[in-house]
């Protein structure tokens, strides 16, 4: 087999050295009755060409050729071939977690740069080397707040990504942590009065997302003031990281939990992406995940190491701040390369283009009779519209035009059946937006 670097003769020689008659002898400690008598029933073996053929055939069964207005936590943004060139270098791709600092300085310095970029983006003081994704980052941020405050209640805006909320509930369920949800007010932001009403000094954290799931921006600074009054920590989750190129950073938050997919990672049907937790220095010891730190060797050369490992499972075991071990390092590297490419101006311009395209799209859609925006708080590149009829029906119609319609809000929010979440990034050109508006208009004119 092409991946195995042994010839039959070499196998024989090595078996002889270890005193085994045949390969089966190597498994003497496996009780006879449990040894497989027949070969596994698996497809293959396939040559490289056949493997490529198989996956190209699967790809052809997907959405090639469609224009999509989906966002809802996963965004199509421009990516550079440079990013892929770098992360496919074997020295990065096939290297392990950098526990042996002397021969993994490349990975370690890149993590240090990633941490720095995340701090600059979020306005926070420290950031970790990555979490699995935005949903587990938000969840672990809440658990972190729980440890920091030793309180057992959490208030979560219903405008936080529905799947993020369900992950939090899965983790919280047995821990005795009480998760309560706060609805949105008419403008789409969290209902501040309801929040005030429920905020007590037994609340560990308030979790909001900004821009939130309806696309509108939460008043983080205001919320922070309100939340801090009760000694509660404010956790801000972000699914669309590109927004930080145009929006003030959530510096007033105590913990920021971010999904970095927008930074050079392909949608890839849901992953792998990269979660981030950023926070204040004083909360460092309760932070989950790996951290790279700067130090020097005996001759004073600058170098980097994984540090503060006493928070982690491999040292602290049951007392660790989290059970995370393998994280999303290569995705974090991709995001680092991508952000270094974009740089200050590139990210600003990209964010600005999203802002403009989304506004142009909204204007086009609002020209259609019966279509109106659902919430009027400021938004970034996603906005919610209300249609005169079921979004599901409309989307079915749009599919015939090779358009993947906006996200259907009704499933997660029964009260919003006729509402749809439209996402428009810099990758959608004007003609496609106009075609979308045109097709939607037609779809709405169809008799049901």
């Amino acid at each position: 087999m092409r991946y195995l670097p042994k010839s039959p003769a070499e196998r024989e020689e090595m078996l002889a050295v270890v005193g085994a008659k045949n390969a089966a002898d190597l498994f003497s400690s496996v009780p006879e009755k449990y040894r497989l008598k027949k070969a596994l029933n698996l497809p293959g073996p396939l040559s490289e060409a056949e493997i490529i053929q198989y996956f190209k055939a699967r790809a052809a069964e997907n959405s090639l050729g469609y224009t999509s207005f989906l966002g809802a936590g996963v965004y199509n943004h421009l990516r550079s071939v440079i990013t892929d060139t770098i992360i496919q270098r074997g020295e990065f791709l096939t290297s392990y977690t950098p526990y042996q600092a002397e021969i993994t300085q490349g990975t370690l310095q890149a993590i240090f740069e990633f941490q720095t970029l995340m701090c600059q983006l979020t306005g926070q003081e420290v950031a970790n080397a990555s979490m699995y994704d935005g949903s587990t980052a938000a969840t672990e941020a809440v658990l972190m707040a729980e440890r920091l405050t030793s309180r057992r209640r959490v208030l979560v805006a219903r405008s936080v990504h529905p799947e993020y909320r369900s992950v939090l509930k899965t983790y919280a369920k047995n821990s005795g942590l009480l998760v309560e949800e706060i609805a949105a007010q008419p403008d789409g932001t969290i209902d501040s009065k309801a929040l005030q009403a429920t905020l007590k000094d037994d609340v560990a954290a308030v979790l909001v997302q900004s821009p939130n799931f309806f696309g509108v921006i939460e008043p983080v600074a205001q919320l922070a003031d309100a939340v801090h009054k009760s000694g509660t920590l404010l956790v801000v989750s972000t699914t669309e990281a590109v927004s930080l190129g145009a929006l003030k950073p959530p510096a007033e938050a105590d913990i920021v939990a971010m999904e970095g997919q927008s930074f050079g990672l392909a949608p890839s049907y849901g992953g792998p992406y990269v979660g981030v937790i950023a926070s204040r220095e004083k909360f460092l010891r309760q932070m989950p995940g790996r951290l790279a730190g700067q130090t020097t060797d005996s001759s004073g050369r600058r170098g980097f190491v994984l540090t503060l490992a006493t928070r982690e499972q491999h040292i602290r075991r049951e007392k660790a701040t989290s059970n995370i071990c393998t994280n999303q390092a290569l995705c974090a590297l991709a995001a680092t390369v991508h952000l270094c490419l974009l740089g200050k101006e590139g990210l600003r311009e990209m964010a600005h283009q999203n802002l403009s395209k989304a506004r142009f799209a909204l204007a086009e859609l609002e020209k259609i009779p019966g279509v109106r925006r659902s919430f009027d708080a400021p938004f970034f590149n996603e906005f919610t519209i209300e249609l005169p009829r079921s979004v599901k029906l409309v989307n079915a119609q749009l599919l015939r035009d090779k358009i993947v319609g906006p996200f259907v809000l009704g499933t997660a929010y029964p009260e919003l059946t006729k509402h749809a979440l439209v996402c428009v990034t810099e990758t959608i050109n004007r003609a496609e937006i106009e075609r979308f508006a045109g097709c939607l208009r037609v779809a709405l004119e169809q008799p049901i």
């Binding site: 003030k248 049907y269 951290l291 700067q294 540090t307 393998t326 290569l330």
Partner: protein, 503 residues
């Protein structure tokens, strides 16, 4: 140090500062197509939320500087592509490049998790086929591919157990974990709100079955066993252990991180295991990428199926695949979207390349470990004498006499052109040398490793200092970890002088 080694020489390599230190206002590495719609007035659109100055401190560099920066950094890394990476318990095997290729195909990498299922049949078929393959390999009844890594798989598994027991009326309190277990096991148990009871291995490094019989009370929800253990030893009495647990209504969780020793040889499902996770980034060759991403599918017996995370993939008549979200007993989601799909694609590509022949990979992996053990036995102390499977664990007992410990030996290996083995655990072996060659190493590479280890053992006896101060061949020497932890510097900050570049 200008020593010459069989496998390694020193060569000139580029220094490189932090990317932020290369920044100068106005440089760009990325340009966008011109905006083709009216330019929105951001200040008006965003009001007080507008960050008009852009991100303070973000680098401003050119494309070639970015490419060079990361290319130079990469040359400071060791990698499988460069040589043997014998990290015990990490299964650092060859990462086939075709897997990277297919994961990036248009129609695979470009797919959105929320696109209609009728436009996602290709993705769903990939998931389904991988599920089927992993069930065949593990001998289990049902599986979820949602967990992002092994540790999350463990959590998923324990939550399934808890949900099952809860339904029986009592979630119970404790999870038993052998002292040889990986750190994620106890850490996970706590997140699943179980108390951890560590159980000591008996003299052969196995689970003390009689002891276990006493320990398994009505309070015990499960035993988390790693098989083969982190000592590289197979637990022959696993079925008996499962039986003990089952008799008392507890379940058996198997940490499948070491499935590289069993694939195609035997199946946990046939030995009474109730639930287990797999590390696709170990056994199934998806790249470690400097720490991740991975995937930690959880395979289970029928009894746990009702509690699987949502959504659950189901096959409709005509082979049409859809996702079922209506699973009242489900533990819920452990991760957003469809798991680390890109990792799943790579793992399936790996399995398809081998087919049933994957057994040969397992045999070669065990052969390599056994071969290295045979050649180094006596040179290094072997604390446990039972047959090794995918890895062999020595101790530094012999070298300790000269004040040389496992970390010193590990660092010295670097000078010989190898990545160190695992030193961190298993905790039951003081000064452990945990060596897992995997099937990807040729006899030539194994022999070079053996020579290096023997030579280091000789140095430890004759010239311990050279080992204790290793590595001598790397661009930086041993780094000051104490200061790093005591005065953490976790991000770059602009030095006043160039602060103008930073805003």
């Amino acid at each position: 140090m200008t020593e010459d080694f069989k496998k390694a020489s020193r060569n000139v390599s580029q220094n490189e500062g932090l990317i932020f230190e290369k920044s100068s206002p106005g440089k760009r590495a990325f340009e966008l197509p011109p905006l083709d719609v009216p330019d929105a007035d951001a200040a008006k659109a965003l009001g007080g939320y507008f960050r008009d100055e852009g991100v303070t401190g973000f680098p401003e560099v050119s494309e070639i500087e970015v490419l060079r920066h990361f290319t130079r950094l990469s040359t400071w890394n060791y990698a499988i592509d460069l040589g043997m990476y014998p990290l015990g318990s990490c299964t650092m095997k060859y990462n086939p490049r075709v897997n990277e290729f297919v994961a990036r195909l248009d129609g695979i990498a470009t797919e959105h998790p929320y696109q209609p299922q009728e436009l996602s049949q290709g993705c769903l078929k990939i998931i389904k086929l991988l599920e089927d393959c992993l069930l065949e390999i593990t001998g289990m009844d049902s599986i979820t591919l949602q967990p992002a890594a092994g540790a999350q798989g463990e959590l998923t598994g324990l939550l399934l157990i808890r949900a099952y027991l809860e339904k029986q009326g009592n979630p119970r309190k404790k999870v038993l974990i052998p002292d040889s277990a990986h750190g994620t096991n106890p850490a996970t148990a706590v997140i699943a709100c179980y108390q951890v009871e560590n159980i000591k291995s008996e003299s052969h490094g196995q689970i003390d079955v009689d002891k276990l019989r006493e320990l398994v009370t009505e309070d015990v929800a499960a035993l988390m066993i790693t098989n083969p253990s982190t000592l590289g030893i197979f637990e022959p009495r696993i079925a008996e252990i499962a039986d003990i647990l089952h008799r008392r209504g507890a379940l058996l969780y198997m940490d499948g991180a070491n499935m590289n020793a069993l694939t195609g040889i035997t199946r946990p499902g046939d030995m009474g295991v109730d639930v287990m996770h797999l590390n696709l980034h170990k056994t199934f060759s998806t790249p470690h990428g400097g720490g991740g991403p991975g995937a930690g599918p959880v395979a289970m017996k029928k009894i746990l199926e009702p509690f699987r995370p949502v959504p659950v993939l189901i096959e409709k008549e005509g082979g049409h695949l859809t996702r079922d979200f209506n699973r009242p007993e489900s533990i819920g989601r452990v991760k957003a979207f469809s798991g680390n799909f890109g990792v799943l694609v790579r793992a399936l590509a790996y399995i398809l390349a081998y087919g049933p022949g994957v057994r040969q990979a397992t045999e070669d992996a065990v052969l390599n470990a056994t071969y290295i053990r045979k050649k180094l036995e006596g040179v290094f102390d072997l604390p446990y004498s039972l047959p090794s499977m995918h890895e062999v664990v020595f101790s530094d007992a012999i070298q300790k006499k000269n004040g040389v410990n496992t970390m010193d030996i590990a660092k010295r290996l670097i000078d010989y052109g190898f990545h160190p083995y695992t030193t961190a655990f298993p905790l039951i072996v003081p000064g452990a040398l945990m060596i897992e060659p995997t099937e990807s190493e040729s006899r030539e590479e194994c022999d070079l490793f053996i020579d290096a280890m023997k030579s280091i053992a000789h140095e430890a006896a004759t010239n311990p200092q050279v080992v204790k101060t290793a590595p001598h061949s790397t661009r930086v020497g041993r780094l000051d970890e104490t200061t790093a932890a005591r005065k953490p510097i976790l991000r770059w900050k602009p030095t006043p002088s160039r602060s103008e570049a930073a805003d």
